[in-house]
Every structure is written in C-alpha cells, then in structure tokens.
Symmetry: C2
Subunit: 253 residues, 2 copies
C-alpha cells in the first residue's frame, strides 16, 4: 500500500530532512518510527529536502508499507513514536504511482522576519530578527521581478553538487523554475515573504530573501533583480538569509 503522509516540524534541532549517519534528521526519525511500528525498513521520500533549521507547516512524504494499518491508527502510532518536534498531521492511501517528489505540481514557502525592537524568546527559533530599518515598498517591488518562468542560477547554492542534490523538484536538471506568486505582507511585528512556484533550487528562497533585503536597505534597486537573474551567477545576488525564518508551507499535487 502506498501512503501519503503530511507532517509538520520544527527544524531547529535536526540536521535537515535527509537521512544522515550520526545526525538526527526528519527523514531519519520518520524512518525509525515507521520501522518501530511496522517492522518495515523503508525510507519515506519527501517532496524535497529542507535544510538544517528550516521548518515545515505541511511537508509531504510518500512511503510503501505492507502492514495493513488503518490511517488514523498510523497517525496516532507515529505521533506517539516520533519526537514532539515532528507531528504527523495526516496519513492517507495514495495511488501506486504517487511519489512525494516526482508528483509535485507546486510548493509554497514563507519566510518570517521579526522587526520589533526585542524579539520574544518564543519566536527566536522561527524568525530572522532584523536590526536595521527596511523599505517594504522596495522589497515588494523587488519580489515582483521573480514572478514567471526564469533561470534562477543566481539564486541557487553555488556548490554544483549541492545545487543538484537539493533541487527539490523533478523538472529537468537545469535551473529554470516558474514562480506563480511572490510578495511580502506585514502582520504586526512580522514581515512575511510568501512565494509559490513549481519548484525551488537549493537555498533559493533564502537567497531571494537576502537579496530582497538588500533592496529594502537600498543597497540595490528593486529592478536590479532582473539584472541579477540575467547574470546567472550566484555572486550577483545577495546573502543567504538564516534558515530559522523559513517554513515549507504547502505542497500541491
């Protein structure tokens, strides 16, 4: 039986999604929990890999299990077995050809920035606390320049091995992705970047945010984003924003 699992996690205390020897990872914890519950040693496949410190509101994983276990029992058993920082929100039977990564049609991320003077201790794991003023209108304009089908080489991690390794969609091994929406919203002391696209390269959202912040500080002009994209070169773009502000929000199939 093929399964579709939807899960939420606080990535702070994990070395990212992908299973690693000697390090706690989301995929590794899920593998161990499934093994403890069903006795089956099978590695669940995620919709994509999230980096160390990156969180998920609703990551999706697929896994093939022989055990005939009712979905609600599987949810309960997994949540009893997994660390509290990883929660299974839903488990459902999926068609045999469903694959959490291959079948992705769109993904949404959000990046949370805290702009207040003093960041509450309960938010520090989940936001990037900014210490300088930014011009939101400029960041908004900058964000609009990435909408559409574009080559995001300038916003991909430079290590070519890493870039391929972490590419989270099954589109051809190039750096062309389509962004459907890209904008900033303000919610109290939070400044939130929301982006939806058909796929994302390694570090892409964090590199976009770091570059939009350069626009917000007037280090670059909003329209420079177009030039940066044309360069197809990582050094053309801005710094990588910290992992802790990033959330994988939804995966669409």
């Amino acid at each position: 039986m093929n399964w579709k699992l939807t899960l939420s996690y606080d990535g702070t205390d994990f070395h990212g999604w992908q299973v690693q020897p000697c390090h706690a990872t989301i995929q590794g914890e899920l593998f161990s929990a499934i093994e403890r519950i069903t006795g089956e040693s099978v590695l669940p496949q995620g919709s994509g890999r999230t980096d160390a410190g990156v969180h998920a509101l609703a990551q999706v994983a697929s896994v093939e299990l022989a055990a005939p276990i009712p979905p609600s029992n599987l949810v309960r058993a997994l949540n009893r077995t997994l660390p509290a920082a990883i929660r299974i929100l839903n488990a459902e039977h999926a068609p045999p050809d469903f694959h959490a990564r291959h079948s992705v049609r769109a993904k949404s991320y959000e990046y949370r920035i805290f702009r207040g003077e003093i960041c509450p201790p309960w938010l520090t794991r989940y936001v990037y606390a900014l210490n300088w003023p930014v011009d939101i209108d400029k960041m908004q304009r900058a964000a609009s320049f990435v909408i559409g089908e574009r080559d995001f080489t300038s916003f991909a991690a430079t290590d070519p091995d890493l870039s391929t390794r972490e590419s989270d969609s099954d589109t051809p091994q190039n750096n062309i992705r389509t962004i459907f929406s890209s904008s900033w919203t303000e919610e109290g002391d939070l400044l939130i970047y929301k982006v939806r696209g058909n796929g994302f390269l390694h570090h892409m959202v964090r590199n976009l945010v770091g570059t939009f912040l350069d626009a917000g500080r007037s280090h670059i002009a909003p329209e420079d984003i177009s030039t940066i994209l044309e360069h197809r070169s990582r050094p053309a773009a801005g710094p990588t924003a910290p992992a802790r502000g990033l959330f994988l929000n939804t995966v669409e199939y």
Copy 2:
C-alpha cells in the same frame, strides 16, 4: 545605583533561575552578561526562583551597579550579550531599598494546556499537551476553592529544604499565602489557568494544576480541594503538572 530589570525567557534550555555550577541558568546568564558589560561581579536577585523548563513573560530582578550607564543602553547591551532565549524588556533606576524579592506585593502565573488532537511543534515547549478529555466546569469550580488566605502545605513540594529554598516571597516561613484570583479560560485549543497571589510555594502552581486536572477527570470532586487544603499534606493533592506549561506572567510591587 539600584536597578530594576524586567525580563522574559524561554526556560526550556536552562536549569531554572538560580545560579548553579556547571549548569546554564537564567540568573547565571544574567550575572555573566552584567559582568561582561560593566566589569562588575554582582548577582542579580530575582522576584523568585523559577524551575527548570518554566518560562517568564515578565520576571523582575534587582541589581546594584556602579557603572553610570543609561537605561536604554543597558537594555541594548544586555540583549546583545545574553542568549536569545533571555530578553531584557526594560531596565530602570529603582529606589535604594527596592529588592526584587523582598518588595513583591503580588505575582501572576499562567499555565497553558493544549487540548487539540495534534500539538503543533512550535507549541510543545510551552504547553502541556493533554491526551484525555476534561470537564472544564469542574476544573473551574475546583480553582475557585483556593481563593483567599490559606495554608498551601498540601500543594508545596514535599522536600522541606526545597520548599523553603524555593518559597518565592518574603512572607514568614510558613505555608500561608493569599490567592486573589484563580480561574480557567479557553482560547482556541488552549486551556489556560491564571492565578494571582501574594506569594507562591515551590511547585505550588504546578501542583494546583495537577489537582484541578484530577477534578477535570472526575478523579476527585471540585469541593475536595477544601479537604485537600485542610490535610496540610502533599500526598493529599494531585500530581505535579509538567514545567513546560508554566509562565511567570507579572510581578507587582
């Protein structure tokens, strides 16, 4: 110059308030930060000691410093030096006789219980996730029986050394405290107990919550709280609720 510091902290990664050799504590971190900033080795006094895992929205500490530093600079310098899990919200000059513990007139705590089916990973450090149904009306009634001036021996930690050590007010060394308000409120999936009193014994709020939960599960009747108080014996009351749901909210002077 005598100072009044107001601070917020996530107690999860600390061994409580009180300075300890070889363990990170809130008081120890504050001591080190003050020493690094001013060169002065002085131990700040808290309004009371919080246990390992207990949080504070607005703990108060007093400390005597010789350094002539403007309040806003002290706040900034401390927040730059302290771990992000501890934030100084305010620093102000206080009268020479002000002492964070001796001068307390009232304190408020709240205890947060999560009752939803699946506890979001970002709440697990800050709530007690309940796995059984409770009758809130019974818990509300039970909570009303502790209002007034009463002997709270039944709700104090049994270790006599601990009980005295952690007693957080300067009222006489007995177990009589006055509770001004004590009630439960519901906020979405959260069930919150709020209590305000002139002082609290070691583990007192957590023991009250554990006992109110016994009433909520009909293990005891709400009016049994009166009998439990009369017993003046820890075994008469219910279990100690986990530290992670407890917040020191405000300290009044």
